[in-house]
Symmetry: C3
Subunit: 109 residues, 3 copies
């Protein structure tokens, strides 16, 4: 048994949910926040048999897309209030960041 922990963009939550359900996967969602952009995203916990891990990865790959996002970065120098101009930095936010963890014991109590 494996636990697939996948951090996904909020925009893809609906499509990823529908795709996982359609393929018969069971999962739990947790609202989360990205450390860098500090924006809401969602973390899926999908417990699956070992031989189903690749299938989950395919479903996530098909339903989640990478997007470009701009972040305003302010210069570190100290300027008079109102004079520092932020420079937009482009970041590529991936479709899904996935960690597959081994499960020692799985039980439905």
């Amino acid at each position: 048994m494996k636990l697939v922990i996948a951090v996904i963009q909020d925009k893809d939550r609906r499509r990823a949910t529908d795709a996982l359900l359609e393929k018969g996967f069971k999962f739990t969602n947790v609202a989360s926040t990205g450390g860098f952009l500090r924006e809401g995203n969602v973390t899926f916990f999908v417990g699956v048999e070992d031989d189903q891990v690749d299938k989950v990865m395919e479903v996530l790959s098909a339903s989640c897309k990478a997007r470009e996002q701009f972040v305003n970065v302010f210069p570190p120098t100290i300027e008079p209030i109102g004079t520092c101009i932020p420079s937009p930095v482009r970041v590529m936010v991936g479709g899904a960041t996935v960690f597959v963890i081994s499960v020692d014991k799985y039980a439905r109590i």
Copy 2:
């Protein structure tokens, strides 16, 4: 050291919390959502010594109960608005869905 990750129905949160505390377990709760029913539930993270895992499972088993729940499922055919009749599907929601994970390193910093 193991990390017991248990998804529990919201109705059992209070009783499971009291039962775990009474037995001296330490844990952290995270509000979560079931992928299928899309309803709020709660995910407990309980870090315990290896020989305490069975004890945690017993506590959860005693404090969380399986319940029947009905979900309205709409037919996939396209009907004029207002004419499709949903058929209620019965699902059994377990007391707790538990994943026991091995912890390589545990530290209280």
Copy 3:
């Protein structure tokens, strides 16, 4: 690859976030609740290469501090309403409670 799961006090969230970002770590935050104090805290999920685990622990150790907190504990005997006097119990809440988990597979989809 390891997944460092760290439960941190809310007061230290800002400093821990800045410290992790400054050191180039990527992470995801989840709002959580302590089982005992039933207060909000925050759980960080930091996926890192094996040789970076100690670095993450150092960053958390430097940015999160242990604090004393008082909890009112009511006596178990049944008293007339309004007459039972709670006795404050002192608990030491650690800077960070950390679980390091092995990751079988890591992917950025």
